[in-house]
């Protein structure tokens, strides 16, 4: 079954003083996510990632289109028992302590009284907040708040979890911890949809990614496919700046620092370049094939001209 099935979801805003012009925040999004899949939603700021999530949560309403979660209409309150959501840069009721907040949310999500206490303790341990005691949330650091955020998203053991920029504002340790948590949820078989613009995280955690730009889904790809593609380019570093003029037609974007030159060459032209450098008596330092990365895919799909989905 499809965990998430979005069909033609659109959102337009009326802008301008007289509200005459329309701005499209999301243009007819079609997207599906399988159960147990981890899907990365990539895009620059303002692309429409948060808009999509807000639509799915019922915080804003679409101008067209529909969506189903776990086979039911996404706005059905019963469906919400089985989903969890972590908003971007979340703010929680700062006058509550972590256990109080989780208890409140657990009640709202329908966790029974008998299970609540146990689950709260469990979760606080899982996100590494066991010893915060009754400290009010207003005293929490950003990293701690993010962890509370993840805890509240899963306190009711949902099947589908939506995370909006879960790593934002975290230091490397924090990011590592959140990554571990998401991996853990993945291992439990949960369906996860998270948005981010940190490509390395997407690469590490996601099964598939979708790139969204200016409200449109530009492309969807399987992460593994990028890793195994044949290197199209090669990076070459050598000593001998005077050789540069001889190879300038082969090398793109050369950088020289003193005698050291670094440049990129198409893999097909590699042999000719090496031959020419030898003739110029340049000394090779390194030759590194560059694999197609997610970054390329991302950049390709967020260029100004439209491209067909599926190309990289």
């Amino acid at each position: 079954m499809l965990a998430i099935d979005i069909q033609g979801l659109s959102k337009k805003y009326a802008v301008g003083f007289w509200k005459k012009h329309q701005r499209s925040a999301l243009k007819s999004l079609n997207l599906s996510v399988e159960t147990g899949e981890t899907f990365g939603f990539l895009g620059p700021n303002g692309a429409g990632k948060t808009t999509t999530l807000k639509l799915l949560m019922g915080i804003i309403f679409p101008t067209a289109g529909s969506a189903k979660i776990l086979g039911k209409d996404y706005l059905d309150p019963e469906v919400k028992r089985r989903i969890g959501f972590l908003p971007e840069q979340p703010y929680f009721y700062d006058y509550l302590s972590a256990p109080e907040l989780l208890d409140y949310y657990a009640r709202l999500s329908g966790v029974s009284a008998s299970m609540r206490k146990q689950r709260i303790e469990q979760l606080l341990g899982r996100v590494g907040l066991s010893d915060v005691g009754n400290k009010q949330l207003r005293k929490f650091s950003k990293g701690m708040l993010q962890r509370v955020g993840i805890a509240q998203a899963i306190i009711h053991d949902p099947d589908v979890i939506f995370l909006d920029e879960p790593m934002s504002g975290l230091d490397p340790v924090g990011r590592h911890e959140v990554r571990e948590l998401i991996q853990g949820l993945k291992d439990e078989g949960k369906t996860i949809l998270f948005s981010t613009h940190i490509l390395s995280d997407a690469e590490a955690l996601c099964d598939r990614v979708g790139v969204i730009h200016k409200g449109e889904l530009r492309g969807v790809g399987v992460v593994n496919d990028f890793r195994s593609s044949v290197a199209e380019k090669t990076e070459v570093i050598w000593l001998g700046a005077k050789a540069l003029s001889a190879v300038s037609d082969l090398v793109t974007a050369p950088h020289s620092t003193g005698e050291t030159v670094r440049g990129t060459v198409q893999s097909a032209d590699l042999d000719r370049l090496l031959e020419k450098l030898r003739q110029q008596q340049a000394r090779l330092i390194s030759v590194t094939p560059i694999h197609g990365t997610l970054e390329d895919y991302f950049l390709a799909n967020t260029r100004e001209e439209k491209r067909e989905p599926g190309n990289s």
């Binding site: 915080i59 019963e78 908003p87 009721y93 009640r107 709202l108």
Partner: protein
Amino acid sequence: MTSRLSAITWNTFREAVRDRVLYNLILFVLLLLASAPLFSQISIGLEKLMLVNVGLSSISLFGVIIAIFLGIGMVSKEIDKKTLYTILSRPVRRWEFIAGKYLGLLLTLVVNAVLMTVGFYVALLIFIHRLQGSDATLLVAVYFIILQFMMMVAITLLFSTFSTPIFSAIFAFALFVIGTFGEDLKNFAAMSQGATRWLATGVAYIMPNFASLNVIAQAAHGESISAHLIIFNTAYALLYSVGVTAMAVLVFERRNLK
């Protein structure tokens, strides 16, 4: 549903208490203690009258001020701070959220009023040395003040669903002031003609009527309140509050949040 509703109610109450709103009780007690000796100097035999006037007027005014100060941010604060996001992602219906906020703030005001009333009776005992049967009217006066709170909370909540705190405060306070004018609006309507008359009458009835909920003068003079008035005031306040809250639900139901 009740579990969610009571959770939101209780959380709203808890927020108010942790916001130290109950500290206004200290000010209230100080006011009572300070005014009693002052009044006893002015006229013999008037201490009770003046104590009742000061006490009941304070319970009413403090409560209205709290209702406005806390009510204007009820919904708008949750939208601005995005705490609503994690609420709406749960099986909480939007109307449950509004109703829970309403009940939570009302609970805060009722608790505040009850504590003040207790303090007020203690002051009566201290300064007047005994209670009489007619002091039951004082409880009716407090009950009517609570009915007034019911209406004010609904009003501030409604404004909070679509307006910024500053404008909500201005509108809510304006409605409170207009509501105390009571007869004047209807008299004005009765004196005008044609379309103005229809419009004025309509406005007069849409505006809350706080004048008939104010029996402080009667309580101060120890007069009894008719059961009739109690029943109809209760019905009026209930219907008005539910109606205005329903409007809030309507506004909020399909509102695109930030």
